[in-house]
Symmetry: C2
């Protein structure tokens, strides 16, 4: 018998992938423009032209033996140095190159961090709603995944609830802001309070509780005055998992990093463990061409005004139809309240109107559904009638 856990995880698709595959089939049946596919978080906006230009320039001018050769496992020193300086200038930290570990994207950042930090049975608290793969990553690293319900209807951190779940086995808290699937940003006051709680229990139990911030959506924030706090400014035992997948529209190229806060006393041990975890998982190094790319394009983003317009238009359509939904501050998702208790049944009914939206159950958000608006503006425009008909079927209007 081979490993039945991985057999199961390879057989049962995630609810997102399941619906995405259904969508591909349905589009082939009735036509691409007849299906309103809000299932997946694949950026719909092109990488900025700086990306193509820089890639071509690098390929044409660098020594190919060096360009395509191994870098150190942590990543090319000069790339890490550039990024550390950028982070310091932007967030008033004092990182150096050796605080950064370049990875094959956010998922790799997370599996490496969990494998580096967790011993078997360690608990990780994850505020809901959350990206469903977190559970898979934490459990495979030997950890225990514990969801923490958020504040009802706002999806903000429920710090009282979180505090009540801390035990001597709590090794880490994982946050994701701007959030997938709700789009909310956790405000500074809550991050401060969270860090105070973690400080208190780290002292009480004599073991640090790590704060891991998963930040693939950091650059996707749409309103002036919305600030995404940088956890290192508030808490020493913190790690930031970053990815260029969404900010540069490069999800298929797998490039990101882990930044380890050098203010934690055991910094060297944690960084070494990150290196060890990358090694045992088989990562070797992040793709070198894309390492060199981000050295040039670290402060560039795709045109996110398209997502902002999508958000505004979709939000207004949904509100006009009588749906309950929190206006998201960032990312490219909305978490809509299901008009009936069972959100799976709601999403099934939505399919009849060719609307593909994902039930919130796997996101720790029963009774809600995720709508990904990283789509063409036309898709949103054309979907309005379908959202209205679906609302009418529930007598929302």
């Amino acid at each position: 018998m081979i490993n039945q856990k991985t057999v199961k995880l390879g057989t049962v698709r995630s609810s997102i992938r399941e619906l995405f595959e259904y969508g591909k089939k349905r589009k082939a049946e009735i036509g691409e423009d007849k299906v309103f596919d809000f299932s997946i978080g694949n950026p719909s906006v092109s990488a900025p032209t700086e990306v193509s230009d820089a890639l071509v320039d690098i390929i044409k001018t660098y020594d190919p033996v060096l360009l395509h050769g191994y870098t150190s496992a942590q990543g090319d020193f000069s790339v890490r140095k550039t990024l550390a300086e950028y982070i310091n200038a932007r967030f008033d930290t004092s990182l150096d190159a050796d605080c950064l570990y370049l990875t094959c994207g956010a998922a790799a950042s997370l599996t490496i961090a969990f494998n580096a930090l967790l011993n078997s049975g360690d608990e990780v608290l994850v505020p809901a709603p959350f990206f469903p793969e977190y559970r898979v990553f934490i459990e495979h690293a030997g950890g225990k995944f514990l969801a923490v319900d958020g504040v009802v209807n706002t999806f903000q951190l429920n710090l009282e609830k979180l505090e009540s779940l801390i035990t001597p086995n709590t090794k880490a808290v994982l946050i994701n802001s701007p959030n997938n699937p709700s789009g909310v940003v956790y405000p500074e006051k809550d991050i401060k309070l969270l860090c105070e709680i973690l400080e208190k229990y780290s002292k009480k139990f004599g073991n640090p509780i790590y704060l891991i911030s998963d930040e693939p959506y950091r650059e996707l924030v749409y309103d002036d005055g919305i600030k995404v706090p940088y956890v290192m400014n508030y808490y020493a035992h913190s790690l930031v998992c970053y990815s260029y997948s969404k900010s540069l529209s490069l999800p298929g190229e797998r490039i990101g990093y882990i930044a380890v806060n050098n203010q934690m006393p055991e910094f060297k041990e944690v960084y070494a463990s990150i290196c060890g975890a990358g090694r045992v998982l088989g990562f070797v190094c992040a793709p070198n061409l894309f390492q060199q790319l981000i050295k040039k394009a670290y402060n560039v983003t795709s045109d996110i005004s398209i997502y902002k317009n999508n958000r505004d238009r979709l939000y207004s359509i949904l509100k006009d139809c009588g749906y309950q939904v929190v206006k998201p501050d960032g990312a490219f998702y909305m978490f809509v309240k299901s008009p009936e208790e069972d959100s799976k049944s709601f999403c099934e009914r939505a399919k009849k109107y060719e609307l593909l939206i994902v039930p919130g159950d796997d996101f720790g958000g029963k009774g809600y559904a995720r709508v990904s608006y990283c789509v063409l503006p036309e898709t949103i425009e054309k979907s309005a009638a379908a959202f209205r008909a679906l609302a009418e079927s529930y007598k929302l209007i």
Copy 2:
């Protein structure tokens, strides 16, 4: 306490990396051309011009949203289809796209395969000498790594020894031919005999023993008439882990695949488990730009005649100095017999002559040292006097 296993693996470098870092320091001290660095397996030959041309063409002509977007976790269907057809034409197999799973290189292929196949405590037999990271990958996947001594002085498979180590817990045998660190190729008659043994014990114990063939060096074979057998032609329960790191000189870009033999009855379960393992380890998909590249460059290789010339020249230097060494058929390594029992002491003495060669101990080859000849031809030429002086210090000449 964080995970002490990964702390240790991130703190204690592999013996190869250790020497490589020493070499960098030493070169800075006495000059690049004064140090004869035979420590690491980083290709010294450029990627072929087809690679740069294809990359630029792809970047300039493909839709960036698709090009840099997620592919399915297994890899782009059309890429897998192209590779399956190529493998079928070359090795007379009948694979289809869904037998292939594209990976971030050979290390990823191996960690995914081990995590997919192994349950805790399962044994993997690995003929010595072997690449030291195999132990790390197998143990982290919960397996038990068991080295099988090779035939003395030839480094060929010792099938009697291997058979004697098979137990009901044997889940897999991992082979690597052309071999790192010896450069030998296992001939067809031995592969056939190995497969007969595995067939016999799979039946006896009622559980398949998988044969995993790690093939990053398949294309690096230097003499007419040397054939690297394709394991799928001899055994149903076989998987091939392939990488373009050495054949296309792209080790830093992380692109390769796992091919699962569809002749095994439980093929679907094994392939699903590969998908599940890739998911839990955080791989998401292989870098898409390089997926598209290999669709165009699958039958191209770097100029390996440079390695052949290096091999011939280095072999003749070493023989002239009185060293015992088997002439390698492929890869870019030679495994030289240490003139004293302790090969670590031999490699330390070599350092005094600015020769950086790696003790064989971690490769399961005590009493030998690995010499990587993926270097500039000048390095070999200039190293001749140092090898001679080292031999004289042992009174070999």
